[in-house]
């Protein structure tokens, strides 16, 4: 399959290793990966913060860049959620019927990585090897916007060498919420404090998730507390093999 990588601006700039892992993984599974260099940002941050007018050109840009792609896959549940669940709102706001149509056309071809592997490709074992104790945090947008369900866990359970431990109160938000973490920093920290406590209780070496934004938030506290727990994106675990 021809897969267009929707890297997301956040991963492109801050977490390039996640993108590299995705390329390795998808190529290992026999697919051709393309990276359209004209892509920038999906507009999630602007949209969620209330700058919806500013989101319109970004939606336009997205449909121009990816309009012809066979499958568009991203290592971020929240950015995929933005495209799949909220682009139609932005298109409505623009009042441009052509944009509405373009959005309608592109949305069914946009996928979050784990959902793409399990539900679209039917792959449950990607042949990965990762000899570490790992706990998985299901991010809110993967759970409640995209409804990825068990997909990430199915993939993780089939990783060789992994010691997967259940995270208590896993479904609770980590307190990130984009600009929430800055605007309501105190409440955000109270939520994060509980999440960190639960992660530490598992005794895991690694905390995995399908969103680097939440992982940056969680990892920021893990690092501050010198906890020794590493935040690692799901794609990086799935890309690991015995050779690499």
């Amino acid at each position: 399959m021809h897969i267009s990588l929707f890297i997301t601006c956040f991963n492109d700039t801050l977490f390039p290793e996640t993108g590299r892992a995705m390329v390795r993984l998808l190529e290992r599974l026999g697919h051709t990966v393309e990276f359209p260099l004209e892509q920038t940002c999906c507009g999630q941050m602007h949209y969620n913060t209330g700058y919806q007018e500013e989101t319109i050109p970004l939606v336009r840009r997205f449909v121009e860049v990816f309009g012809q792609a066979e499958a568009i896959v991203a290592p971020s549940a929240s950015c995929v959620g933005m495209v799949k669940e909220f682009y139609h709102n932005v298109a409505d706001r623009s009042g441009d019927p052509e944009l509405m149509e373009q959005v309608e056309a592109v949305v069914p071809r946009v996928f979050e990585l784990s959902q793409f592997l399990v539900e679209e490709l039917g792959v449950e074992d990607v042949g990965a090897y990762y000899p570490h104790r790992v706990t998985y945090h299901p991010t809110c947008h993967s759970l409640r916007v995209l409804h990825v369900g068990e997909a990430p866990l199915i993939l993780l359970r089939n990783v060789r060498g992994i010691d997967l431990v259940e995270l208590p109160a896993a479904q609770e938000c980590c307190g990130f919420g984009g600009t929430f973490a800055v605007k309501n920093a105190d409440t955000s920290m109270a939520m994060l404090g509980d999440k960190i406590r639960h992660i530490k209780d598992t005794g895991a070496e690694v905390c995995a998730a399908a969103d680097n934004s939440c992982l940056m938030h969680i990892g920021g506290a893990l690092n501050r507390q010198r906890s020794g727990v590493e935040p690692v994106h799901l794609a990086e675990i799935l890309a690991s093999t015995e050779e690499n």
């Binding site: 390039p16 840009r61 109270a190």
Partner: protein, 473 residues
């Protein structure tokens, strides 16, 4: 009117460890119970869909349904009054009460009457309004404000309540067992019920086609107030309608399981006007707008009026769980309050306008809402309105707002590939001032909130696209 912002208020409540324990315990207990009774319903999702459609039907034809309700209530022997705002509603009620020449009225828990501050209006006219729901009584005796829709005194523990009852109800010897505290309230209120001439209630539902009004409760104080007095005055928001009696089969399944997490709550009272020889012989229904028509006018915000006040969204909200209800400065706290309060009060109130930001958009509230109010969607929609308003107001204030500047700069950078790539490089260079030993632990200004508890990893030397370019060569 200006209220404090959520972020200011939350600070104080977050550091109150007793409060956080009380609320954390309560919300988790009821959250788990709700899940159990919802899981035993194979048709839960259809019921939610039906509830949402019925409310949608009501809202889109609200004028017709209200006229129908008015007619049905009149036919059944009741009187209907219309009130545009709190002042008008209070005036109507005060006049009705004074006609009966009483100094005291008994009240069923009603958030709508809290919203219009009815008790204060009655007090100003020399009438004492007696709250009879246990939690409302606690809040009233303490001179406090409710902090939860279902259990308004949930921020108080048994020891605090015992102290309060000792002082205010003259109960010298009193243990802190909930049984004994409830018994003290029973004894105190029984005398009041027996002598009450006027009862005041809210309404959970009113049926347009029969004029039937419903009050859903647990303690029996609702039954007392709606049957013992000779005169009953019910205040309801104009959105509390349902089309027909039969539609109760939807709402009376959704509400108890979502609210008290029971299959059915102990008492539901349904009355249709006046019944000779049984209950109040004079019945008044006050229909209240007080901002609801403004909510109705917003096509996205309109769904907020579907709310049946179950409080399931409060119990699953990670923000409410940490701050409690008082941080919202409204009788409607939690996620539903974060969308209802700013719409009822208007975005001019800075406190109300801070509420749509009191959420991580985690979506837990939408998942449990029995009438499918898409709270995250409305939150984001309201944020949009707030930003649009700021932009229109313009001026130095908006232009010097760091968030506004940041968003504008980034929007511009994302518009073209070359600008975006340049911005990536600039950020990498710019961060050098803050990186120490391979990590960022301190940021200035607005961003200091982040680094108070979290480090930041510096931007790596190579972006993904740079790596991709190198690899292609």
């Amino acid at each position: 009117m200006q209220t404090p912002t959520f972020e200011e208020s939350a600070k104080a409540y977050l550091s109150d460890t007793q409060l956080r324990r009380n609320i954390g315990h309560a919300t988790h207990t009821i959250r788990d119970k709700r899940q159990t009774v919802v899981d035993e319903m194979p048709d839960w999702e259809v019921l939610r869909e039906a509830g949402s459609s019925l409310k949608n039907r009501i809202m889109r034809h609200l004028d017709e349904y209200l006229l129908q309700l008015e007619e049905s209530v009149r036919q059944a022997g009741g009187q209907v009054h219309w009130a545009r705002d709190a002042g008008e509603a209070n005036r109507i009620i005060v006049d009705l009460v004074k006609e009966q020449q009483v100094e005291e009225v008994v009240k069923v828990k009603s958030i709508t009457t809290d919203e219009i501050k009815l008790n204060r209006a009655l007090a100003e006219e020399g009438v004492r309004a007696l709250e009879t729901d246990l939690a409302e009584l606690i809040v009233q005796l303490a001179g406090d404000e409710p902090s939860h829709i279902l259990v308004p005194a949930i921020h108080k523990n048994r020891a605090e309540i015992r102290e309060l009852f000792r002082k205010k109800l003259n109960q010298g010897e009193l243990s802190d067992r909930p049984e004994d505290l409830a018994e003290a309230a029973r004894l105190y209120l029984r005398k009041k019920f027996l002598s009450a001439k006027v009862g005041i209630s809210g309404a959970n539902f009113a049926v347009a086609d029969t004029g039937t009004v419903a009050v859903v409760e647990s303690e029996g104080n609702g039954r007392m107030c709606t049957t013992l007095p000779e005169t009953l005055i019910t205040v309801m928001g104009i959105e509390k309608l349902i089309p027909t009696w039969r539609d109760f089969e939807v709402f009376m399944q959704l509400l108890p399981r979502s609210s008290t997490a029971e299959r059915m709550n102990p008492y539901n009272s349904f009355w249709t006007g006046v019944t000779e020889g049984d209950g109040p012989q004079e019945f008044h229904l006050v229909l209240l707008d007080n901002g609801r028509t403004n909510v109705l006018a917003d096509e996205v915000g309109r769904q907020t009026l579907n709310c049946i006040r179950c409080s399931a969204c409060l119990n699953v909200c990670p923000v409410y769980e940490r701050t409690g209800g008082h941080a919202y400065h409204s009788v409607y706290p939690g996620p539903i309050g974060a969308i209802l309060t700013p719409q009822l009060r208007g975005l001019e109130d800075e406190g109300a306008a801070s509420l749509p930001y009191a959420s991580t958009l985690c979506g837990a509230c939408y998942e449990v809402c029995p009438v499918k109010i898409n709270i995250p969607d409305v939150l984001v929609h309201l944020r949009g309105k707030i930003v649009d308003r700021k932009k229109r107001a313009g001026g130095l204030n908006a232009k010097s707002d760091p968030e506004y500047i940041g968003m504008r700069l980034m929007a511009r950078a994302f518009k073209s590939r070359s600008r975006y790539e340049r911005a990536q490089k600039m950020a990498r260079v710019g961060q050098k001032f803050f990186v120490k030993d391979g990590t960022i632990s301190k940021l200035p200004g607005e961003l200091s909130g982040w680094t108070a508890m979290r480090d930041l990893k510096p931007i790596p030397n190579q972006t993904f696209r740079e790596w991709w370019g190198d690899r292609d060569e």
